[in-house]
């Protein structure tokens, strides 16, 4: 059972791995479109008010159009190898067209994967002379037909379910949004870009598909956008403020972490967590959870499936978005300062200890070589 769970997770993550670039590129291009059209803010065609913006809006939208087909195609690829790609992409596109959204695309991809596996099994003992037919005709044509046919009943069930869930998410308010924001923020920070982070992130991205398959702005994504940004930034700011606590390597990593935080990449925190897990990990989790909870409390929505400075213009309320971010970072940095003191003692004592260990390290290394 555990093995099975692990392999299903692997299939889902393979899909996520391939669709991430589409999400990032689409999100950033769309936000540029709105950025270049700032003068037209509030206008009917906001985001397409001049040729450059309109062009960016179009290609950003195209990148988004690929999202569900790529996700589904590569889930099926993970399950059934190369012949899975086309039936999976077909299932993803049909889920999008029939308003079954992310859930439809994922379930459809699994169905497509199983159907291609079934086809492979059925044709396993065919003679060698037929293998060309198998690869060129059977898998693509029959596989696609079967996957598309499977999507008919699936969409009938998942379409309404998706609409119901979207309604539910839109109806969320107050305390439940604060809670969701805190949980998402905490999960995003928990393993800095690992499986827990990706699960929370996928949930937030999934909330962005409206019932008609178009993109919609949600508070859930707003909380993810703000809290995701704060993770690397907490480490970056801490390495600047508590300079003496960090080695030269980590101070350099801190500079990179500023950029990574601003670009919505949680991985910038990794070197810090490795060096000082007991102080850094709780701090980034609490800091990111605070940022997420605040964004939830303020009800800030985000329409792009990625946070960071590039998509900031897409937040429903930019000052409050920034405020949630700054408070989350501040909470994380202060907590980190306290925890560093608790786990390592005062700075002076630590520096002495480090000098000693540096001396003993050089002696032992000298002994080895």
């Amino acid at each position: 059972m555990k093995e099975r769970l692990r392999s299903s997770y692997k299939h889902l993550m393979t899909g996520v791995s391939y669709f991430l670039p589409f999400v990032v590129a689409g999100g950033v291009l769309l936000s540029f479109a709105f950025l270049f059209d700032a003068a037209n803010s509030g206008g009917e065609d906001f985001g397409a008010g001049n040729p450059v913006s309109a062009w960016l809006l179009t290609i950003g939208g195209y990148a988004f159009d690929f999202m569900l087909p790529i996700l589904a195609g590569f889930i099926a690829y993970s399950m059934a190898d190369r012949p899975g790609i086309l039936p999976g992409m077909m299932a993803g596109l049909l889920a999008r067209e029939e308003e079954a959204g992310f859930i439809g695309a994922i379930i459809g991809a699994v169905a497509a994967g199983f159907l291609v596996r079934l086809l492979k099994w059925v044709s396993k003992n065919w003679s060698r002379s037929l293998s060309g037919v198998k690869n060129i005709v059977l898998f693509p044509v029959v596989g696609t037909l079967l996957a598309a046919a499977a999507m008919i009943p699936l969409n009938l069930v998942i379409g309404p379910f998706n609409a119901w869930m979207n309604g539910l998410l839109e109806g969320l308010s107050g305390a439940s949004l604060v809670l969701i924001g805190a949980v998402i923020g905490g999960m995003l920070a928990a393993d800095m870009g690992g499986p827990i982070n990706k699960t929370a992130y996928l949930f937030a991205v999934a909330s962005l598909t409206a019932t008609d398959g178009s993109a919609t702005a949600t508070v859930i994504m707003g909380t993810a956008a703000v809290s995701g940004m704060s993770i690397s930034t907490i480490c970056a700011v801490a390495s600047t403020i508590y300079r003496r606590r960090f080695s030269q390597d980590l101070r350099d990593a801190g500079k990179a972490a500023y950029v990574m935080g601003a670009s919505y990449i949680a991985e910038g925190a990794i070197p810090f967590v490795i060096a000082k897990p007991r102080a850094v990990l709780p701090s980034i989790i609490v800091g990111a959870a605070t940022a997420g909870a605040l964004a939830g409390a303020f009800g800030i929505t985000m329409s792009a499936p990625i946070g960071g400075v590039f998509t900031m213009p897409l937040a429903s309320n930019i000052p409050l978005y920034l405020l949630s971010f700054v408070i989350g970072v501040a909470v994380g940095v202060v907590l980190l300062g306290i925890l560093l003191r608790l786990t390592e003692g005062s700075v002076v004592a630590k520096e002495e200890a480090e000098r000693e260990s540096a001396i003993s390290a050089t002696t032992s290394e000298g002994g080895n070589s």
Binding site: T14, D81, G193, G194, I265, E267, I270
Partner: protein, 99 residues
Amino acid sequence: MANIIGVSSCPAGIAHTYMAAESIEKAGRRLGHTVKMETQGAAGSENTLSNKDIENADVVVIAADITVDEERFEGMRIVRVSVGEAIRGAEQVIEKAVA
């Protein structure tokens, strides 16, 4: 002393892929083996295993949270672990691989 090769790959392909590869390579060398890890990150395949690497290898370590194409390693002994296991417990992974 064993000849270990392997592939690492994580969903985002930015950091964990490379950390897993590094951690396996370090632990393997510490235990006296030769190790070559191919990374399949967002940049595609790097430190790619050559046919010769594969021919000479005793065991393959796949450290991945996503599906990795294993066609190249057909008939070889393959040890599969998650990226997390490779980063945190690389020595156990190596021990498992050469056992």
